[in-house]
Symmetry: C2
Subunit: 285 residues, 2 copies
């Protein structure tokens, strides 16, 4: 679950998701957008129960579902067997081009084409430019009016009554950086993904296998921990989260260690872990 | 999950069933027969994940699926979206007549027609007659041969060389009673069910609502705790288990108390509870 722009975005929905939401105190009624990477059971078998529960607790407003085309057809069969849901399911399937599949005032979401055994997409969440914070003392010092403040928040410079240009950077705090999160699961190793997720703050990348099983990874179109780290390093991300570990590995810390040899800021994730991307101001000029 | 005749019978499969099996140390690979009462999510949404997992762990032998006709069609759509399972799904839908839908050397299973918002069936498990245990000392005392012992185990009397008839009851221990378990969920209150589950050792009967909400129970074709107890009392069962409680009741003990006023040997079940039906010898003549 991603919280951004005060909204909750559910990304993939394996069996038991609704129980996990309750366990971690997350209200399913607050979910309006569900992104499904691909139609394999461990990514979608919890969707039926979650949507069914939303209907039971009286949901009326739409749920927006993002995912491969077949997801819409799958949900039509759901209705056929289990009856219509009492709210609208609004489908959006990733387009071939690079347009956003979701956009609000504050964030955009881009689908990332993945190579797996069935059509699959990752998702890249990015904050948009935020209005600049104007330094209160400077408003008075330079005599800015309300209209001037609006312009300065947008990044414009200010010209005072004497015709003197006051550069925006003197009137505002350094801007916040635009936070970003990318989710990549499931996919074969694809170094080309680094270009798409370049410089994100937080990258989740599947790491189903260890490098010693890289043949198996290639055969099943999955990645190894080392390969996930290679993508992260090439993309220059701030932090890498790896997960989706095969149950064959009794100790997932081995996979974390394998990735860390390539990209030190890697964490092997466990159910219930919480990661934040703090807001930081970019350094001023 | 019912264990009978050294086999495991899974009865209904809501979301998270495979996780519960692991939690309680039950090996899903040991399941060969799955009985589905009806196609509502809380009874079937765990089936996709469970079957998918069985495929992943290398299952080759068939899984026998019992349930309404639409279950077979539902699983065809499963295959269409998620690929064929690497083992056979053998379907049996309850027939209109009273034939067993499952039979082994030791037990029989009968489908119980229920009245709910979609085709629904309960299931009645009964042990068959068991061979009698012959009293060792009497074999010697009366000089029984091997062929005689086989006959006596079947219940026949013994005629010795002098032509004297030794009644079976003198040669054998009193027989074990035939244990039985009935599962009834979901259904509107139907006193006629008592005839079908007459005298069973253990009856599970749904009790979604409290008697104070009996209108709601009738509208949604569910039962109240008092109604479940009424069926149990009329049927003269040994013990009643109630469950499937609506989440509106903060304290399910209230529902247990309601049922106990009508049928004292009632237990409100919780996840993970285990109930046994001990083998008892019927009293001799």
């Amino acid at each position: 679950m991603l919280k951004a722009d005060e909204r909750f975005f559910l990304i993939d929905c394996g069996e038991g998701t609704q129980m996990r939401l309750l366990k971690y105190g997350l209200n399913p009624a607050r979910i309006h957008h569900i992104f499904i990477s691909h139609l394999h059971g461990d990514h979608v078998f919890g969707l039926f129960g979650l949507l069914s529960t939303l209907g039971m607790i009286g949901r009326k407003v739409p749920v927006h579902l993002y995912g491969p085309h077949a997801l819409e057809e799958l949900m039509q069969y759901y209705s056929r067997f289990f009856g219509p849901l009492p709210f609208e399911l609004a489908f959006v399937s990733p387009p071939e081009n690079k347009n956003f599949i979701y956009e609000s005032d504050k964030i955009t979401v881009t689908a990332i084409p993945l190579k797996h055994r069935t059509p699959a997409f990752g998702y890249l969440f990015r904050e948009k430019d935020k209005p600049l914070n104007v330094i209160k003392e400077q408003i008075e010092a330079y005599g800015l009016g309300i209209a001037d403040v609006v312009k300065v928040k947008r990044g414009e410079d200010f010209i005072n009554e004497s015709g003197e240009l006051i550069p925006n950077s003197r009137l505002t705090y350094p801007p916040f950086h635009k936070r970003s999160y990318a989710y990549i699961s499931d996919t074969v190793f694809d170094p080309g993904l680094a270009e798409i997720v370049k410089g994100v703050d937080l990258l989740f990348h599947e790491a189903t296998f260890s490098e010693k099983d890289k043949k198996l990874a290639a055969q099943t179109l999955h990645s190894t921990a080392a390969q996930a780290a290679t993508v992260a390093k090439k993309a220059g991300v701030q932090k890498l989260l790896i997960g989706h570990f095969s149950t064959r590995y009794k100790d997932p810390l081995q996979l974390e260690a394998e990735a860390k040899e390539i990209f030190i800021n890697t964490v092997g994730v466990k159910d219930g872990d919480l990661y934040s991307v703090p807001l930081k101001r970019l350094s001023g000029e």
